[in-house]
């Protein structure tokens, strides 16, 4: 095979350069002559004014992703002093709680609006351990925990990655007695709307502990307590 000389390579390069330059010039000329591209300029050639108005509404919204805690019906094994049913961790000593449902999910409350809210609860019907269960040392208690800690599934948005309600993960991690009057469990009445609407920190779990002593009186019909969760926002 005959070797290609440097002269030929140089000529080829020159031809390539000429084609590139020619192509660029032709392209620019076509662009400038086409409609709407008379000349390249940064100044506006005409103007008109218009008014756009927009009203953004606020949506105050709360979702309870587990609306009931149903411990069901059953009895306490006579070999035990009590049956403790905790919606956070389930039954303590499963053999003590006979026929009851082993509930392991609390009320999962989530801000599904577009504005921050505060949440309080009030309780109706049988809101004390004595009226709900009776017997010796019954317990009917409440606690609430940010869902980035509880990690209860079922949020409408994605599972929280940050602590809700002002950034304290274990919001009220020890059980306390339930009162009919209730209280604020996230934020307060003084315009502290601390349950964020941001999906990463918009949920918390309210757990219930129901402890039934072995001597709890027999009840013919099921007794219940009903919590009303109030979501409040600015208006």
């Amino acid at each position: 095979m005959k070797e290609i000389s440097n002269k030929t390579i140089f000529l080829l390069l020159l031809v390539t350069l000429l084609i590139t330059l020619g192509g660029t010039i032709v392209s620019i000329n076509k662009l400038l002559s086409s409609e709407g591209y008379g000349i390249i300029t940064s100044a506006a050639t005409s103007n008109a004014t218009g008014t756009a108005s927009v009203t953004i509404s606020t949506t105050t919204s709360i979702t309870n992703n587990a609306a009931t805690i149903d411990f069901g019906s059953g009895y306490v094994n006579s070999s035990c002093s009590q049956c403790r049913m905790d919606s956070d961790v389930g039954q303590a000593g499963v053999t003590c709680c006979v026929s009851f449902n082993n509930v392991t999910s609390g009320f999962l409350l989530e801000n599904t609006g577009n504005i921050n809210i505060s949440v309080n609860y009030v309780c109706a019907f049988n809101c004390t351990a004595d009226s709900l269960v009776g017997g010796t040392k019954p317990m009917f208690e409440i606690k609430w925990t940010a869902n980035n800690v509880s990690a209860q599934s079922g949020e409408v948005g994605s599972l929280d990655t940050h602590a809700s309600c002002g950034g304290r993960g274990k919001l009220n991690s020890t059980y306390e007695n339930i009162s009919a009057a209730g209280k604020f469990i996230c934020g307060n009445s003084s315009a502290n709307y601390s349950l964020d609407f941001n999906n990463s920190q918009d949920a918390f779990v309210v757990d219930i502990n129901l402890t039934i002593p072995v001597d709890a009186p027999f009840t013919n019909g099921a007794r219940s307590a009903v919590f009303t969760f109030n979501a409040s926002s600015s208006a």
């Binding site: 953004i56 606020t58 105050t60 009931t68 411990f71 009903v226 009303t228 979501a231 208006a235």
Partner: protein, 370 residues
């Protein structure tokens, strides 16, 4: 077939038992709060209730409820109308709540729940007297320029103010009064606002921080408000720098502040230590009154001790020398395990490559021979 039906039924019941029940309630409406009380004024806002599967009840609670009406809820929508009376009420902040509650329904389970959403409103009732709220601002300027003062006055009363004006006193850091400025008189109608403006010539005043006090006079009353401003000169102020170093390579940082009311460009620094230049930083631009960071890495191999250094700051076409002290501290190095040399890895790899090349050459030769 019968067995299949039983299994299907069992699966359905299990599904219904274990699926978490869900409830929700929402109310959507235009943001209104805080509402300014204006006697005789009527405000109507529309609300839409959503997401709930239950009947709802709409309730108004709190103060001023006698002036608020809720229309009948139709298709989960309703209007709230606020009709303020034709009289003035006591000044203050009033609150009321629009509450949308799920009505009672059958609750399955031992512990049931229902939801409610509340919208909390504030109504601001201003004074029946002539009242205003001033806020005062002053522009920072360069040396010999004129400071512009602006006093924003907002009426917080239901009576028109016939005349508002202000007297502005300018002070230096030692509270020495440097001059006075008077603004024009302007009328201030009830619930509206206005600006009072004045200017102050800083000719002859040195660069530095100053403050001004404005006494705002409105009819027979007076309120005071304060503002601060700077008079700038074209200079860079060194705010902080790397003062402790170790033998070897060190990163030097110099935090500087532009004391000029315009951006400074081409800002860089040279650092001389023990009479020899060891560092020149890259060039940066620093906006008016803002801070910037000059930094660079230099090799310093002096014995421990305190050394005098000179920082030359360059900006625009000017420069400034700042004497510094830099302390060299000996590194107390922790016991470091001697790293094993990696040379044997490279030697082995090279050997493998050479052997492979030899094998390939041999194979090629054999193929050619065949």
């Amino acid at each position: 077939m019968k067995r299949f039906s039983i299994i299907l039924g069992f699966i359905l019941i299990s599904f219904l038992l274990f699926i978490p029940s869900l409830s929700a309630i929402s109310v959507m409406g235009k943001q209104l709060s805080p509402i300014l009380y204006v006697s005789g004024k009527t405000i109507t806002n529309h609300y839409v209730i959503a997401d709930t599967n239950y009947a709802v009840e709409v309730v108004i609670k709190g103060q001023l409820t006698e002036y608020i009406n809720i229309s009948e809820v139709k298709d989960n929508q309703f209007d709230m109308t606020i009709q303020f009376p034709d009289k003035l009420i006591d000044p203050g902040i009033y609150t009321f709540t629009l509450s949308i509650n799920e009505a009672s329904h059958d609750y399955s389970g031992t512990v049931g729940s229902r939801l409610a959403v509340n919208k909390n409103f504030q109504v601001l009732v201003y004074s029946n007297e002539k009242e205003l709220e001033p806020s005062f601002s002053a522009t920072s300027v360069n040396i010999n320029e004129t400071v512009q003062f602006t006093i924003f006055v907002e009426s917080r009363g239901y009576q028109d103010i016939e005349r508002v004006n202000a007297e502005i006193m300018v002070y230096d850091t030692k509270n020495k009064e440097l001059g006075k400025v008077k603004t024009k008189d302007v009328p201030l109608p009830a619930l509206l606002n206005a600006n009072l403006r004045g200017s102050f010539d800083t000719k002859g005043l040195p660069a530095g921080s100053y403050h001004a006090k404005a006494n705002v006079f409105y009819d027979e009353k007076m309120k005071s408000t304060n503002a601060t401003f700077k008079i700038g000169s074209m200079e860079l102020i060194l705010k902080n720098y790397t003062s402790i170093i170790n033998p070897g390579f060190n990163e030097f940082k110099f935090i500087i502040q532009n004391n000029w009311g315009n951006p400074l460009s081409n800002v860089f620094a040279r650092l001389s230590l023990n009479n020899s230049e060891i560092l020149q930083t890259p060039t940066i631009n620093v906006d008016a009154w803002q801070e910037g960071e000059l930094k660079g890495i230099a090799l310093v191999n002096f014995s421990p001790g305190i050394y005098s250094a000179v920082l030359h700051l360059f900006y625009e076409d000017q420069n400034r020398e700042i004497p510094l002290n830099i302390t060299m501290v000996e590194i107390i190095s922790p016991v470091v395990k001697e790293e094993k040399s990696n040379i044997w890895i490279y030697v082995s790899l090279s050997a493998v490559v050479i052997i492979l090349i030899i094998i390939i050459i041999i194979l090629l030769t054999k193929i050619r021979e065949k």
